[in-house]
């Protein structure tokens, strides 16, 4: 199967090459070609239509002086940090609970994971209704007698991102739990036995032995959560549509709005290039840690 050793190089293994045409086209045209095209056009002043009229870094200067972009970045930072920490903590805690040889593990796992099957639109709309100030949670708690109770995140610019966070965690944490559970199941039973023999308390075994052993799983979970955070779009559109005002705008939404509604393609391209750059910043250290040292990792 080694093509290089045989004669007629190009036609050796021809069927395999034909079968790979869709992959090669996808890689060259969409992934490499499309990304390059967008990055190149981010240096132009394209508006309604893409044009190759280069203006240097103008679009980026405009981007970083736009208050809407700055709000988007801040919102994503708040959402990102909270969601990263909470999802990791909840995901690991639930996985650890389920790994304690409990009864009904399958039932609990099913309950924690089902939101992951639902779309962000469904998630956003469900939580929009629960957080509805007039009929939802706030009004129910007020009816119980706590009349001054106020929790209306979707209409309060200061805390709107936390309203979205509640929904985002609800949707995604079960998935991280599954990843963590797979990691915990991969740990040798003997390690638990040894820790028990040595009289190390359970919580300490987790902190000192298990979590360090699960480092690769945590890194994977981190990358999964982080790449999901940057994509945050549907949830915001469904739950608040960026409101109240611009209070819950996010970068992915900024890109779509400038490309398809504001007809300012150049801004959209510049913003999407910034998203790409942030992904690269996250991924390179990870790829280096994962694959850097060893071959065939």
């Amino acid at each position: 199967m080694d093509a290089a050793k045989r004669p007629n190089k190009l036609f050796r293994n021809l069927n395999s090459k034909i079968a790979s045409i869709p992959m090669i086209l996808t890689v060259l045209v969409v992934f490499v070609g499309g990304t390059t095209w967008t990055v190149v056009h981010s240096f132009t002043n394209s508006r309604l239509l893409p044009r190759l009229d280069f203006v240097g870094l103008d679009q980026y200067e405009r981007l970083w002086s736009s208050s809407r972009w700055m709000i988007s970045i801040q919102n994503l930072a708040i959402y990102g940090i909270c969601s990263l920490i909470l999802t990791l903590v909840i995901g690991f805690a639930l996985a650890a609970c389920l790994d304690r040889k409990i009864r009904g593990e399958a039932v609990f796992r099913t309950i924690f994971l089902y939101p992951f099957a639902l779309s962000f639109v469904v998630t956003g709309l469900a939580w929009q209704w629960i957080l509805n100030p007039d009929f939802g949670m706030q009004s129910v708690i007020r009816d119980f007698g706590w009349t001054s109770f106020a929790f209306d995140p979707l209409n309060n610019p200061d805390i709107v991102m936390y309203g979205i966070l509640i929904a985002g965690i609800w949707q995604g944490s079960g998935f991280i739990m599954v990843v963590m559970l797979a990691g915990l199941r991969g740990i040798d039973e003997d390690i638990w036995k040894a820790a028990r023999v040595d009289g190390i308390p359970t919580w300490k075994t987790y902190v000192v032995i298990i979590i360090p052993m699960m480092r690769p799983i945590f890194v994977t979970a981190l990358v999964l959560i982080a790449s999901g955070i940057i994509k945050l779009y549907d949830l915001v559109v469904a739950q608040t549509n960026g409101g109240p005002g611009l209070a819950s705008e996010v970068p992915a939404k900024y890109v779509i709005n400038y490309m398809f509604q504001a007809q300012n393609l150049g801004q959209g391209f510049a913003a999407s290039t910034m998203m790409l750059v942030s992904v690269i910043i996250i991924l390179i250290p990870w790829a280096y840690l994962e694959f850097g040292g060893k071959k065939n990792g």
């Binding site: 069927n15 890689v27 990304t35 040889k101 994977t220 549907d234």
Partner: protein, 299 residues
Amino acid sequence: MADAALQDGPRGPKPKKSFSRANIFLYGTLLLVSIYYLLPLYVMIVTSLKGMPEIRMGNVFGPPMEITFEPWVKAWSEACTGINCDGLQRGFWNSVNILIPSLILSISIASVNGYALANWRFKGSETFFTILIIGAFIPYQTMIYPIVIILREIGLMGSLGGLVLVHAVFGMPILTLLFRNYFTSLPEELFKAARVDGAGFWGIYFRIMLPMSLPIFVVAIILQVTGIWNDFLFGVIYTRPATYPMTVQLNNIVNSVQGVREYNVNMAATLLTGIVPLVIYFASGKLFVRGIAAGAVKG
């Protein structure tokens, strides 16, 4: 690896019936957390079964005093988006029409592709595969507009065919990975024996690999059905209002500003959109977990 471990389930002896303090704490926590996870589903269901007067009286958590299925009927066949008032059924059928060809196209491409990468490597095949996997991390936003141009050039912009193509392209990294890893794990002797017997690329694929890979096809189908059904971004960009998938139409129905907001109809519509992936999830059980774990732990 990871998924195999999950399938084994918990190890060791069955737990003893001990209601120690630690156990009570453990189950208490799990039950409490379960409420958070179950609450939205419960609230959606009860709201969708109430009439509007009852909803205005308050208490989203209360069960309906009088069960009515009218909101479901209305959501399915009468709810309005813009000037169209034929309900969510149009979005549902659009989604079905998007889903089936996307499913067939993306899985057939990816399985053949994974097979080629596993058994028929050629010079450069691994390079393309690596870029394909890296491509899965590129934000869609950087590729969206060039795809608009490509689809416009080949005359598929705004049509279901265009969206099908987009789903096939963006489903390729994860599916190819899934199939490649599966075919690599099959015993190589099988492949060699078939080669000795004179079978070629397609012969081995159809007569040996395909019949052996039913489980991985099921995993791929589960992954794609939920992924494509839940897609919002591609639907909103690459289709027109007449061909909007269900998620996009749902968002337009619920978040439309005109008219009185009918929360019960909205929740019925939301549930209708969520039913397909939920059924897949509950019916497939461990296979769903296996699919996402395989995609996650490696991807």
